[in-house]
């Protein structure tokens, strides 16, 4: 306990560290007699630089982490040659990507072919601006943050389609068409899931949503949305749709390598390919970041006595946990088929999303307490059970009987 109490001040001072660092640099520049507009510019640039570098570092970590996790799941060791435990592998990969020849197909639309990888990485970075990383650490404080997120995240499909169209490759085209259908379909459950939080919080601002999840029930249970019936359902929906939005297994149809080679990325090589790769991971981080902010209490500590750890550490820890789950799922499940994906979105997730709204409303009207628990569960469980039954009727999973000859 003494060791712990010793560390507390260190952590406490870390809490404001990023902001303090920025203030210090700005103060230094002010002392050097820089003009006011310049200081403002530097202030903005510093924020941008901050989360650019943090997320690129996270991307580098994630590609290493993903390969390690998949390897461990598959009884392998994963990258272990470059640097300690293979940690420098992403850097080696980066160098390889940079030095590779950039091949543009002769028949391709050269302008669009070059634009697509740049365009695809923009939305991820734009959406990062509104994430609440910690207490008072939202780069751009927007009253309608959540709207911006949806507006921006849909833009990726434009880039994906651009890539597929410009490549003039049949696999690319098929992949792009799949991607458009998929992203459009899963945008809706994503919005429905977020809407339930908006209903409960009464605000479109992410900061307000995180703050609404502060405090602890009975002194221990955090007051996060995920620990409510509607919140849990909405979180599951949000996460599934997030996987589909960022083209992760089991919804990686656009690049489904066993049928479409690499989908919209088939004709990309070198650093253009790397940009697609980066955007995929950044997209995953961003969408997990939103899941954390909406349902997992954002930067709030999970237990009251852990509040001494800086809020931004909690935020990133939660993101990493969700990213781990995404990788774990990738290591476990096969890919779904395109019509199943659509059926799943339109006949299962979206109806359930509407029921989540109902459930959230019931929860709110029933006073957000034990009564809410009792009343808000049936609107979720009954439709779920009915739909799962209906789904099971299409297949004879366990009921299939095999005979032995003779």
């Amino acid at each position: 306990m003494t060791a712990l109490s010793g560390t507390i001040p260190v952590f406490a001072s870390l809490e404001g560290a990023p902001i303090a660092l920025k203030a210090w640099i700005l103060g230094m520049l002010e002392n050097m007699g820089m003009p006011e507009p310049f200081l403002m510019l530097v202030s903005i640039q510093l924020s941008i630089l901050g989360f650019f570098s943090v997320f690129l570092l996270l991307f580098v970590l994630a590609s290493w982490f993903e390969r390690k996790i998949l390897a461990r799941i598959q009884n392998r060791r994963g990258p272990n040659r470059v640097g300690p435990a293979g940690l420098l592998q992403p850097i080696a990969d980066g160098i390889k990507m940079l030095t590779k020849e950039d091949i543009v197909p002769v028949a391709a639309d050269k302008v669009l072919h070059a634009c697509a990888p740049v365009l695809i990485i923009l939305p991820a970075f734009l959406a990062m601006a509104i994430l609440p990383y910690g207490k008072n650490m939202t780069p751009v404080e927007l009253e309608v943050g959540i709207l911006l997120f949806f507006a921006v995240s849909t833009a990726t499909e434009l880039a994906v389609f651009m890539a597929g169209w410009a490549s003039l490759n049949k696999f690319s085209m098929l992949g792009a068409m799949r991607a458009v259908a998929q992203i459009l379909s899963y945008e809706l459950p994503l919005i429905l899931a977020a809407t339930s939080v908006v209903m409960i919080t009464g605000s479109l601002s992410l900061t307000a949503m995180v703050e609404a999840q502060g405090g602890y029930l009975l002194g221990i249970l955090p007051n996060w949305h995920v620990f409510t019936p509607w919140g849990f359902a909405a979180f599951a929906m949000f996460f599934i749709s997030a996987l589909a939005e960022s083209n992760r297994t089991p919804f990686d149809l656009p690049e489904g390598e066993s049928e479409l080679v690499a989908g919209h990325m088939t004709e990309y090589s070198g650093f253009k390919y790397a940009l697609f790769f980066i955007s995929e991971y950044l997209g995953l981080y961003v969408v997990c970041g939103f899941a954390v902010a909406l349902f997992l209490g954002g930067w709030q500590a999970p237990l009251p006595f852990l509040t001494f750890i800086p809020s931004w550490i909690w935020f990133f820890a939660k993101i990493l946990c969700l990213v781990f789950v995404a990788m774990w799922i990738r290591g476990t499940f096969p890919r779904v088929r395109v019509d199943h994906l659509m059926n799943f979105a339109w006949k299962f997730v979206i109806p359930l999303g509407v029921m989540v709204l109902v459930s959230a409303a019931v929860w709110h009207l029933a006073g957000r307490g034990p009564l809410g628990w009792i009343l808000s569960l049936p609107p979720l469980l009954i439709p779920y059970w009915l739909m799962a039954r209906a789904y099971g009727r299409n297949y004879d999973a366990g009921g299939r009987v095999y005979r032995f000859a003779e």
């Binding site: 098929l174 489904g256 066993s258 476990t332 096969p334």
Partner: protein, 393 residues
């Protein structure tokens, strides 16, 4: 051949099913012709399918093969009888020992050579282990074709390695066995081999249980395989499909039971049959077959007698079988593998012909794939379980 069972066959006329809508296809619509392969991640080698797509639906599919043609049959007519034994390893390189057996059996039939009992036991043990290897890696490859990122493949390879280690210490090579000889086997089992094999066999059910829990009831696997690529029993028989794919359609035809070649009549095992003939049945039949294989292996490893492994009178080099012809077949893991030989009393076969199960099963690919989605083509191809070394020869 047994007639198709009444209970087992799916709807007799697939053209009536809405999936098969090729007949009335609107020719004005624009089709997307895609050439899948020969360089494609999941065509199991250099196999090519010319697919015409309407959206994601397959309306035409033409398998193109021959990219891996190595002139196996012609070469075999130029070298001695013994000389083509190592080449048979390279037909279906997952099941080299079954191939060895089929070829050795054909030559034995041609030349009238007997096989000692211990060698018969070794042949049964090795070819049943081969069946385990094949079906295990089949599961892995098929799940990879479905997009499972290699996890199941790695688990399958982990178990397969254990059997390959056995093969390595027995034959000197992990995959290219070259182990059977006319009138027996090349060498006796190394000391301790039987114990090791028993250990592998005893550990196998646990692995199968794990795989079943991972695969058999998984929602995505079920939705990707059930009612996909249905093959009615009559069509399967007409297309002369053999092996697990035929049995998944409900036709009771297992050469181990039909011919009772070797010493298979000494073992108690059953032939699992599917009902629907879809991809899920083809998958599950392999699971069930592996469990039956274990039932053969346990008594075989227990009862194997001492004795010579080679008929001392059998000649290997300069074998000149009397004039005549012979066809011998075995139930290879992929189906009926047969060798047809004509001898003109010289030291080379006058005619040498392989009946490869992969190639003949593959001829039904178009019928299976029409009306399905493009993603299903890969799964269907995966469940037919081809090896290009055998298709192209």
């Amino acid at each position: 051949m047994n007639p198709p069972s009444e209970t087992g066959s799916p709807s007799p006329n697939p053209a009536e099913s809405p999936r098969y809508r090729t007949a009335g296809y609107d020719s004005d619509a624009q089709l997307l012709e895609v050439s899948l392969g020969p360089q494609h991640p999941s065509t199991h080698g250099v196999f090519r399918m010319n697919v015409a797509l309407d959206g994601e639906d397959v309306v035409k599919l033409k398998p193109v093969f021959g990219y891996l043609h190595r002139n196996h049959e012609q070469i075999a007519e130029q070298v001695s009888y013994l000389g083509s034994m190592p080449y048979t390893d390279r037909l279906d390189y997952f099941c080299s020992l079954s191939n060895n057996w089929a070829y050795a059996a054909a030559v034995e039939k041609l030349a009238g050579i007997d096989v000692p009992e211990r060698a018969e036991y070794i042949r049964v043990i090795t070819s049943e282990l081969t069946r385990l290897v094949n079906h295990t890696s089949f599961l892995g490859f098929m799940l990879s074709d479905m997009g499972a990122w290699g996890t199941v493949l790695m688990y399958a390879f982990r178990e397969r390695e254990k059997i390959l280690d056995l093969f390595e210490s027995l034959t000197g090579s992990r995959m290219m066995g070259n182990y059977m000889r006319f009138g027996g086997c090349r060498c006796d089992l190394p000391p301790g081999w039987l114990e090791q094999a028993r250990k592998v066999v005893d550990g196998y059910p646990a692995f199968l249980d794990e795989m079943e829990s991972l695969i058999a009831t998984n929602e995505i696997v079920i939705s990707r395989t059930q009612r996909i690529g249905r093959l009615p029993a009559d069509k399967a028989v007409n297309g002369s499909m053999t092996g697990p794919c035929l049995r998944a359609s409900g036709v009771n035809y297992d050469i181990r039971k039909v011919d009772r070649y070797g010493i298979y009549d000494r073992f108690e095992f059953r032939v699992p049959l599917g009902d629907h003939g879809d991809c899920y049945d083809r998958l599950m039949i392999r699971f069930l077959e592996m469990r039956e294989t274990l039932k053969i292996l346990r008594p075989a490893l227990r009862d194997i007698p001492e004795g010579p492994v080679m008929d001392p009178k059998a000649r290997q080099r300069n074998l000149r079988p009397p004039e005549g012809e012979a066809y011998a077949r075995v139930e290879a893991p992929k189906g009926e593998l047969g060798f047809y030989l004509i001898s003109d009393a010289s030291d080379k076969p006058y005619r040498y012909r392989v009946r490869p199960p992969s190639l003949i099963n593959l001829t039904l690919l178009e019928d299976l794939c029409l009306g399905e989605k493009i993603a299903d083509v890969m799964v269907i191809l995966g469940t037919i379980d081809i090896v290009l070394g055998e298709v192209d020869r």
